[in-house]
C-alpha cells in the first residue's frame, strides 16, 4: 500500500465502515475488511500522534 495521507486513509476507513454498517459485506470477506479497517485506524492514529507531536514542538519553539 502506498503511503496514504491522513485524509486519504480516513476516507477509505469511512467507506469501509459504511459498508460494515449497511450489511453490504459478505461474511466471508468481513474478516479481511475488518483487518483492512484496523490497518487504516492504526495508520490514522500514528499520523495523528505525529501531528500532535509536531504541533507541541512548534508551540515550544514559539514560546522560547
Amino acid at each position: 500500500m502506498k503511503t496514504l495521507s491522513y485524509n486519504e486513509a480516513y476516507s477509505k476507513l469511512e467507506k469501509l465502515v459504511h459498508q460494515l454498517e449497511d450489511d453490504s459485506i459478505q461474511l466471508d470477506t468481513l474478516a479481511e475488511k475488518v483487518t483492512q479497517a484496523n490497518e487504516l485506524i492504526a495508520l490514522c492514529e500514528n499520523k495523528l500522534r505525529a501531528i500532535e507531536k509536531n504541533v507541541a514542538k512548534a508551540r515550544g519553539e514559539f514560546e522560547n
Binding site: 454498517e21 461474511l27 479497517a37
Partner: protein
C-alpha cells in the same frame, strides 16, 4: 559770532536741552532689535534699536534694559516662546536718556507681549497659508485640521530603526534615548543620531540639512524622530520655518516630533505626528511594538486553539470508527454468541443450501462443531 565753548560745556548744554524736552516723558516704540547683549548674571541687557527701509538701517539708537526691568525680557521669552535675540521686532516702553560720554540712548521700561504674539501669529498664519497653497498634494486642511502626506504614512509593523534628529547632549536627546533603551519589554532599537543645533537663527537650516541626509539613507530607517526638551527652551521659530515644515509634510518616512512644550504647537508638529515630549515619543514607539506583540500573541493562541480543536475532533471521530469496526469483526460477533455455519468450507447464509444429511461445520468462539443435519424446521423468530 558763535560762542566758544569747551566740548563738555556744549555736551552739557545738549544734555540739558534733551532733559528739558523729555523729562518725565515715556513713549511706546515699535522697533527691531540688534546687537542684543544679555548679561544674565548682572540682569541687564544692552542692545540697539533700529529701523530699516529696504533692508538698510535708517535709524539706530542704543538701548538698555537695567536690572529692575530685566524681568520683562524673561517674561517675554516665557510668554511668546520666542528668544529675545537679534532680528526680532518688539514694542516697548522707553524713556530718552543722554549721557555726556555715552551719548543718546533709550532706557526700556516694559515690553508689550501682545504685539509680539500678534506678529508671531500673523507670521505663522502666513506660513500655514503658503504651505497649503504651494503644496496641495502633500498638505490639506480638512475640518480645521492640517493633514499631510507624512501623517498618512503608516508606521511599519514593528519600529526598530530610528533616525534621531536632536541637539547633542540635550534633555530631549537624553529623555528619548533613556526611555527607548530602558523600555520594560526589552525591545531593542537601533538609533542613529543626526545631531544638530536646534535653537537659534540657523537651526531650521541645520535641521533641514539633517532631514535631507536622512532622506538619502531612508532605506535604513523605519521612522524619523525630532526631539528637543527642557522647560527653559523657548525658541519655537525654527519649527515654524516654511522650508522645514514643507520638507516634513512630504517626507517619505513617518516623522514623530517631541518638541517639548504644552502651550503651543509648532507648524512642524502640525505636519508630523506630534507628541508633547521626547519621553512621549519614545512611549509611542514602544507601545506601537507592544500592540504588535499582543496581536501576535493572541493570533498564536487562536492558532493553537484551532489546531487543538481540529486534532481533538479527528481523534474523537477515529475512536468512533474504531468502535464500529470492532463491533463488526467476526470475533466480536462470535463473542456475542452467534455462530458461523459452513458447508464444504463455504459460509451458509441461505437455509436452502442445507438439507437432511448435509455435513456442516458450526464455528463458535473457541471450537468448530462437525455435525450432520437430521431435520429442518421453519424459524418463527421465536427461538432466537
Amino acid at each position: 559770532m558763535p560762542p566758544k565753548l569747551k566740548l563738555s560745556e556744549l555736551v552739557d548744554h545738549i544734555q540739558e536741552t534733551i532733559q528739558d524736552r523729555f523729562e518725565g516723558e515715556i513713549f511706546w516704540i515699535t522697533t527691531q532689535i540688534v546687537d542684543v547683549k544679555k548679561q544674565e548674571s548682572l540682569r541687564r541687557c544692552y542692545l540697539k534699536f533700529v529701523e530699516k527701509e529696504h533692508n538698510a538701517i535708517i535709524t539706530e539708537v542704543r538701548g538698555v534694559f537695567w536690572s529692575f526691568y530685566y524681568n520683562w525680557i524673561e517674561d517675554f521669552e516665557k510668554f511668546t516662546k520666542q528668544k529675545f535675540a537679534d532680528g526680532i521686532e518688539i514694542t516697548c516702553l522707553v524713556r530718552v536718556k543722554f549721557h555726556p560720554k555715552f551719548g543718546l540712548s533709550l532706557e526700556a521700561l516694559q515690553i508689550d507681549f501682545a504685539y509680539t504674539l500678534g506678529t508671531l501669529e500673523i507670521e505663522r498664519q502666513q506660513t500655514l497659508e503658503r504651505l497649503l497653497q504651494e503644496n496641495p498634494s502633500t498638505i490639506k486642511l480638512l475640518d480645521g485640521v492640517y493633514r499631510t502626506y507624512n501623517q498618512s504614512l503608516p508606521f511599519p509593523t514593528v519600529i526598530q530603526r530610528i533616525a534621531l534628529i536632536t541637539a547633542p547632549g540635550s534633555d530631549g536627546w537624553r529623555d528619548f534615548t533613556q526611555e527607548t533603551e530602558k523600555n520594560k519589554h526589552g525591545y531593542v532599537f537601533q538609533i542613529t543620531e543626526f545631531l544638530t543645533q536646534i535653537q537659534g537663527d540657523l537651526a531650521h537650516q541645520l535641521i533641514l540639512q539633517q532631514l535631507k541626509l536622512v532622506e538619502t539613507l531612508k532605506e535604513n530607517f523605519d521612522v524619523v524622530v525630532i526631539v528637543r526638551g527642557g522647560g527653559s527652551q523657548t525658541d519655537f521659530k525654527p519649527f515654524d520655518n516654511y522650508q522645514l515644515c514643507r520638507e516634513i509634510a512630504g517626507f517619505p518616512l513617518p516623522v514623530v516630533t517631541g518638541i517639548g512644550h504644552d502651550r503651543n504647537t509648532s507648524i512642524a508638529d502640525m505636519m508630523a505626528r506630534q507628541q508633547k515630549t521626547p519621553t512621549k515619543v519614545a512611549s509611542l514607539i514602544v507601545d506601537h511594538n507592544l500592540e504588535y506583540e499582543n496581536n501576535l500573541q493572541s493570533l498564536k493562541e487562536r492558532f493553537f486553539h484551532s489546531v487543538s480543536t481540529l486534532l481533538e475532533g479527528a481523534k474523537t471521530d477515529l475512536v468512533k470508527m474504531k468502535r464500529l469496526v470492532k463491533l463488526s469483526s467476526p470475533d466480536a460477533i462470535l463473542n456475542r454468541g452467534f455462530a458461523i455455519i459452513r458447508v464444504d468450507s463455504k459460509i451458509v447464509t441461505d437455509s436452502k443450501q442445507i438439507v437432511e444429511g448435509t455435513q456442516m461445520e458450526t464455528s463458535l468462539k473457541d471450537k468448530i462443531i462437525h455435525s450432520t443435519v437430521t431435520g429442518k424446521t421453519k424459524n418463527e423468530n421465536t427461538k432466537l
